[in-house]
Amino acid sequence: MTTLDAGTVAEDRVAVASNWRLVWWRFRRHHLAMLSAVLLIGLYVVVLMPDFFATQDPERTDARQAFIPVQMVHLFDDGKLAPWVPAIAGKRNPVTLRMEWTTDKQRKVPIRFFAPGHRWRVLGLFETNLHLIAPADPTQRIFLLGSDRLGRDQWSRIMHGTQTSMTVGLVAVALSVILGVVLGGISGYVGGKTDQVIQRVIELLQSVPTIPIWLALSAALPRDWTPTEIFFAITVILSLVGWTTLGREVRGRFLALREEDFVLAARLAGCSQMRIILRHMVPTFLSHIIATSSLAIPVMIINETSLSFLGLGIRPPAISWGVLLQEAQNIQTLALAPWLLIPGLVVIVAVLAFNLVGDGLRDAADPYSQ
């Protein structure tokens, strides 16, 4: 009898739960999606304060410290908690005249957590010199993920690249959502000629290869713009082409909902147009829009990375994942310093996480859509 009671209690709990609570319950069951969500939250913490995670100034160059390999963090020394990284020993190759580096595990460079390093501003508000990881000796440079051809620290640069690339994805999708919901909503709710025009525009945009158009648009940006201006222009360009999928979807929902009884009921009850749209129609597919947009972010990230990699997206001195990967364009360099591919792995992991979260959200928001 107790199991039966427990069953009905559970059923009652489900019966009174709000839609958001139900979505959350279903989402929680996707373990991979939950794990990915935690990872994404971590990445957005990096977005908020990349300097806290960086070990040094990402722009600091030193030609004598080019192509230094990865210095792996070791937590324990002689069984005691005393984090260190192996020291770097360099020798010039007499034939190629290149510096060749090796890590020397015998010589340990001690590092500390939550230790002082270079100065930075928290959210542009106040100054601090606190870092997650810093060498015990502030004059020493450590390269957790190696260095590039100019001797810049890749770890610190990835932290700053994360800030740019993740923000581009988010802002571009936010703009796409606004465009998609407004235009798709008008298209679906008004119908008629307006709908026809918007649908043709969507078809036009969807049937051209996007990368060439993006490239052409961003090639049209004035050369003398600041990195910030370029950054915003790129996000606008990405979203100008990217809103169509969402627009289609919102239109479809509006068309379907227009015929629903509860909308008719609201109309008969004398609700205003605006109230019907905002209070009755939008909430029924809001969770769906959120799921769709979370699946659009990784697409934007891949596009930004591709554009920047080709040299027509975010431009140096701004740092993004794509900008970092420009360093990996040369195969000879890559054979010498394979760690330059690491930003690409970060891209893959981030995109994977977004896709898993998006799929999890979609399944949770719309359990019958499968």
Binding site: L204, Q206, S207, V208, P209, T210, I211, P212, I213, L215, A216, L217, A219, A220, P222, P298, I302, T305, S306, F309, L310, G311, L312, L325, A328, Q329, I331, Q332, L334, A335, P338, L341, G344, V347, I348, V349, V351, L352, N355, L356, Q370
Partner: protein
């Protein structure tokens, strides 16, 4: 059916006019015109041009006219097959594009075929063995495939080939065939090289397509007509291939509509990274150097190819699906 195709064909020129206008606006957008860029290029190489010469050229190309007149002039030239002259190469754009177009198409089509050859059987396997180890493994591969940018995959493969096997996987031909005239040996050499870039280009599409195939087929396998066919006493694999696969396949054909643009987009990047003869890298150079009519020509070719591809896929869909053929 014939009426449907004719209607679509009639719409094609109209669509191309709209595209050409949008493209013209985009290539016009950079500050200055291509003569200012040209003069700057000349200056940087040490030679120069008199103001009269510049003025004459400007008149010849109609650059002193309002934009709409320039557009009409461009369109007129296009209609006569004249894509203009490339500033950087000092050669007709039509020749430049023509040289690379064949191999561009070859790469895209080869990749399309490869995608389908891999994605359809993988999707069928996944759907007929749901939750098996094979299905789970394919799911993982699909997720990673979608998450990996084309150029990243190209870089990794090139690096592995170079660093560990000491071979170069760039280009579409071995050195001895690079500039050779067409022959059977050259075609075989091309086939020996093209599969890797085609695979790199198709990986994300393959992943997406096999997911779609899996979902469609899972849907179809639950339909009553499958039970009917089983109750007839058909062999299971024959039945699956003849009925549900056939039905799951139809919506897949309509994916060509979005897959072709994706292929051309991707081929631009892959061709740039892997140094392939392709109009993609040509476009990239043209954009960077403000070689505007070359860029415009290539953009127009891309649009034309995708519109044509979508049209062909719609016709194909109508041919294989009686529900569309009879009603449409």
């Amino acid at each position: 059916m014939t009426r449907y195709i004719l209607r679509r064909l009639a719409l094609l020129p109209l669509l191309m006019v709209v595209y050409s206008f949008v493209i013209f606006v985009i290539i016009q957008a950079p500050p200055g015109d291509f003569l200012t860029a040209y003069v700057a290029t000349l200056a940087s190489s040490g030679s120069s041009m008199s103001a009269e010469q510049v003025q004459a050229l400007r008149q010849q190309y109609g650059l002193d006219q309002p934009m709409i007149v320039q557009y009409v002039l461009w369109l007129q030239h296009l209609l006569h097959g004249d894509f203009g002259l490339s500033l950087e190469y000092q050669r007709p754009n039509a020749d430049l594009i023509g040289e690379q177009l064949g191999l561009t198409l070859a790469l895209a089509l080869f990749s399309l075929v490869l995608t389908w050859v891999i994605a359809v059987p993988a999707g069928i396997y996944s759907a007929t063995h749901p939750r098996s180890w094979g299905d789970h493994a394919l799911t993982v591969i699909n997720y990673v495939g979608v998450a990996t940018p084309n150029f990243m995959l190209a870089l990794i493969l090139m690096w592995i080939a170079f660093a560990y096997f000491d071979i170069s996987v760039t280009g579409l031909f071995s050195p001895e065939f690079a500039d050779a005239p067409w022959s059977l040996a050259r075609v075989l050499d091309l086939l020996g090289h093209i599969w890797l870039p085609a695979l790199v280009l198709g990986i994300a599409g393959t992943a997406r397509l096999s997911r779609i195939m899996r979902a469609n087929l899972l849907d179809e396998l639950n339909k009553p007509y499958v039970v009917t066919a089983r109750a007839k006493g058909m062999k299971e694999w024959r039945l699956v291939l003849r009925y549900p696969v056939r039905l799951a396949f139809n919506p897949l054909v309509s994916t060509i509509g979005w897959y072709l643009p994706l292929l051309f987009s991707g081929s631009l990047i892959v061709a740039t990274v892997m140094n392939l003869p392709n109009i993609g890298p040509l476009l990239l150079r043209a954009l960077v150097n403000q070689d505007m009519y070359l860029a415009g020509g290539i953009l127009l070719i891309y649009s034309f190819l995708t519109v044509l591809g979508t049209l062909l896929s719609d016709i194909l869909l109508a041919l294989i699906d009686p529900r569309i053929r009879v009603e449409g």
